[in-house]
Symmetry: C2
Subunit: 188 residues, 2 copies
């Protein structure tokens, strides 16, 4: 069994490249009951996210988070903290769009960002570069890029959970076997 202890850019890109097509196959054309339903209110009284909201959030990440932060690391190092990420920007930005538009936007932005990442032509010495997260403190460039990939995975995980939630009653006694119905949603 292979183990992954060191960050490998090609492995991260393998995941990042596949996410737009994965979401497209998963979500495009689904009835609204799957796409627009959420898991109810959060403890803070906010609406939890629907699959539609999640795709909007991924778009905001492509625009404002991952590659902009990589550039801050390369240009400013620890001297300049990253701009904080707006976890609710998509609620405004996606408002008048269809899911299909969001999926198209996400695919285009991801493609542009991966092309920009490759164009940086990162070298082994870049793997020790550091930046400063406004809350987490010092982070490295490989940690940022690994997080970009795991952030995709955390939202695939969430999409499956949000969709399953809509059938939590419909499955009847089988609910005891279905782990996804026991997942409490762990994102901070």
């Amino acid at each position: 069994m292979p183990t992954l202890t060191e960050f490998n850019l090609a492995d991260a890109i393998a995941v990042l490249t596949r996410t737009p097509a994965t979401l497209d196959a998963f979500l495009r054309g689904l009835p609204d009951v799957w796409v627009r339903s959420n898991e109810g209110r959060t403890k803070n009284g906010e609406d939890s996210w629907s699959p539609f909201d999640v795709v909007g959030h991924l778009i905001v990440g492509e625009r404002t988070d991952w590659m902009p932060r990589a550039r801050i690391i390369l240009e400013n190092g620890e001297a300049r903290p990253f701009d904080p990420f707006d976890r609710f920007a998509q609620l405004k930005e996606s408002q008048n769009k269809s899911l299909e538009q969001l999926l198209d936007d996400f695919a285009r932005l991801r493609k542009e960002n991966l092309a920009a990442l490759l164009a940086l032509n990162l070298q082994p010495e870049d793997w020790t570069r550091r930046g400063r997260h406004p809350e987490l403190g010092v982070v490295t460039l490989p940690q940022l890029l690994a997080t970009w990939a795991v952030h995709d995975l955390t939202h695939v995980h969430q999409l499956a959970r949000v969709m399953a939630h809509q059938y939590r009653e419909a499955v009847g006694p089988w609910s005891v076997y279905l782990g996804v119905l026991k997942c409490k949603g762990h994102s901070a």
Copy 2:
């Protein structure tokens, strides 16, 4: 916001139809570190499942679980309990196959099973039909079909979690924000 309280066959089929292409986009061609790595040993000392194992498990479900059980309900009702499902059959059956072969097998079997489901030409009166699960007792046909869809979702949820697990160290301090790394795997 739409809510789903009653089982709707078209909604379930919308999910079931999309799962093969979703897994294909997610997994085909990924490096082995993503496809063949698992989450370590379970509490019982067994190997947990890799994405490869999960696809094999979905194939076994197509062969032995969902449609065979629907037919038992329609032909025998509660009189004949379902055959127990072998959760470990894939460990033998998938052994000498590639992930690509498994994805192809799953797509073909799912297509055949959905065609067979439509060919049953289920009518409103069929929604009250009941069967007997060997452990859970009396279940209904709609519960079986809803569970088929949520079973897909629980394994998409698992795949994202198993893959994220491989980068649990690589993300560094960001792990606190990544819910998928806090999911403990809830399947019974």
